[in-house]
């Protein structure tokens, strides 16, 4: 059977992509151990991870050379999962707030400073 449509393109330089992926992995390790603020570290690591994921999807999985509607099928799960993560944030923020409030109340109680026993669980 003839090898048709999607394979009729110049092959990417797979070794170059491999080198990019290896370098990005090394950079990730460097960022993970670097003495930088946590928020910056998390942002950098997430960005690096998604860059590597996109390289694998575009060049190893040949998504770059497929029809765009197929790329939509591949991208939709990523968007939905991102939306799911943000959808959980209101629940998380409530739990973090409640947890922090309880810890502060307990700390005050240990110091003998808490006038409001209702704050304790």
């Amino acid at each position: 059977m003839a090898i048709a449509a999607s394979s009729d393109h110049a092959e990417p330089n797979y070794i170059a992509i491999f080198i990019y992926l290896a370098l990005l992995t090394l950079i990730e390790l460097g960022v993970a151990y670097a003495p930088i603020p946590k928020a910056l570290m998390v942002g950098a690591l997430v960005g690096l991870a998604w860059t590597k994921a996109v390289l694998v999807a575009m060049y190893f999985m040949h998504l770059r050379f497929e029809r765009r509607t197929l790329a939509v099928m591949a991208i939709v799960p990523a968007l939905l999962v991102t939306e799911l993560t943000f959808a959980l944030l209101p629940d998380l923020s409530t739990r973090i707030y409640a947890h922090t409030k309880v810890i502060r109340a307990l700390e005050k109680d240990v110091k003998g400073e808490n006038p409001n026993a209702a704050e304790l669980p």
């Binding site: 090898i3 048709a4 394979s7 797979y14 290896a22 390790l29 690591l45 991870a49 591949a74 799960p77």
Partner: protein, 204 residues
């Protein structure tokens, strides 16, 4: 776009049924099927990772992963899986050129990469269970770790079995470009998911 050949059910003779073309992957219907499966699997992994993130953010007592997990060895595992993805695309390139020897070689190397990854994963699990005393019910950290890496490990195991069947076909001379391409899609997806798991569970 060409029309699918119609088959007259009342016609006599031996007419082959033409497969209906699909507009997304006209060269291979199986490729569309694999992409659909990968999209569903991506949702499963994504939901698991999102749940992991939610549990971790909501828990102030979450341990620092690098104090418990082996980052350097896991980095080597990541590198091995990336190498196996390279050998997989080289296998696809080989069958496109009609080079059966290189096809078998690179399929074999991909299988080897998968087995090395699984062996190192098993070694890590053994250390965590036997030495650190962790289990799936020890804590949220250990539960999410074992579930996520175990689920991924099952995918790698299935991928290795899939690759072995393709190697068998290659040895019999019956492997096809479409079949190898679809196998490659699954293997690259497994690699892609590990890239994300390595970052979210081990590094952050």
């Amino acid at each position: 776009m060409s029309q699918a050949a119609a088959v007259d059910p009342h016609a006599h003779g031996t007419h082959a049924v033409e497969p209906v073309e699909n507009p997304l992957t006209p060269d291979s219907g199986g490729k569309l099927g694999m992409w659909m499966f990968l999209a569903a699997d991506a949702m499963t992994f994504g939901a698991a990772i999102a749940a992991y993130g939610a549990l971790r953010i909501g828990n102030v007592n979450w341990p620092i992963p690098s104090t418990i997990l082996g980052i350097p060895s896991t980095a080597v595992m990541t590198f091995v899986l990336i190498c196996s993805s390279v050998t997989m695309v080289e296998a696809l390139s080989a069958i496109k050129r009609g080079d059966q020897q290189k096809l078998k070689l690179f399929l074999g190397l991909t299988i080897l990469g998968g087995l090395i990854f699984l062996g190192m994963q098993a070694r890590e699990w053994t250390h965590l269970i036997m030495t650190e005393g962790l289990s799936i019910k020890t804590s949220l950290f250990s539960a999410t770790f074992f579930i996520l890496t175990g689920f991924h490990g099952c995918h790698v195991t299935g991928g290795v079995i899939y690759l072995i069947t393709q190697l068998g076909k290659a040895m019999r001379g019956t492997a096809t470009y479409a079949g190898i391409e679809i196998t490659g899609l699954y293997w690259h997806f497994v690699d892609l998911v590990w890239i994300l798991i390595f970052t979210f569970i081990y590094l952050i």
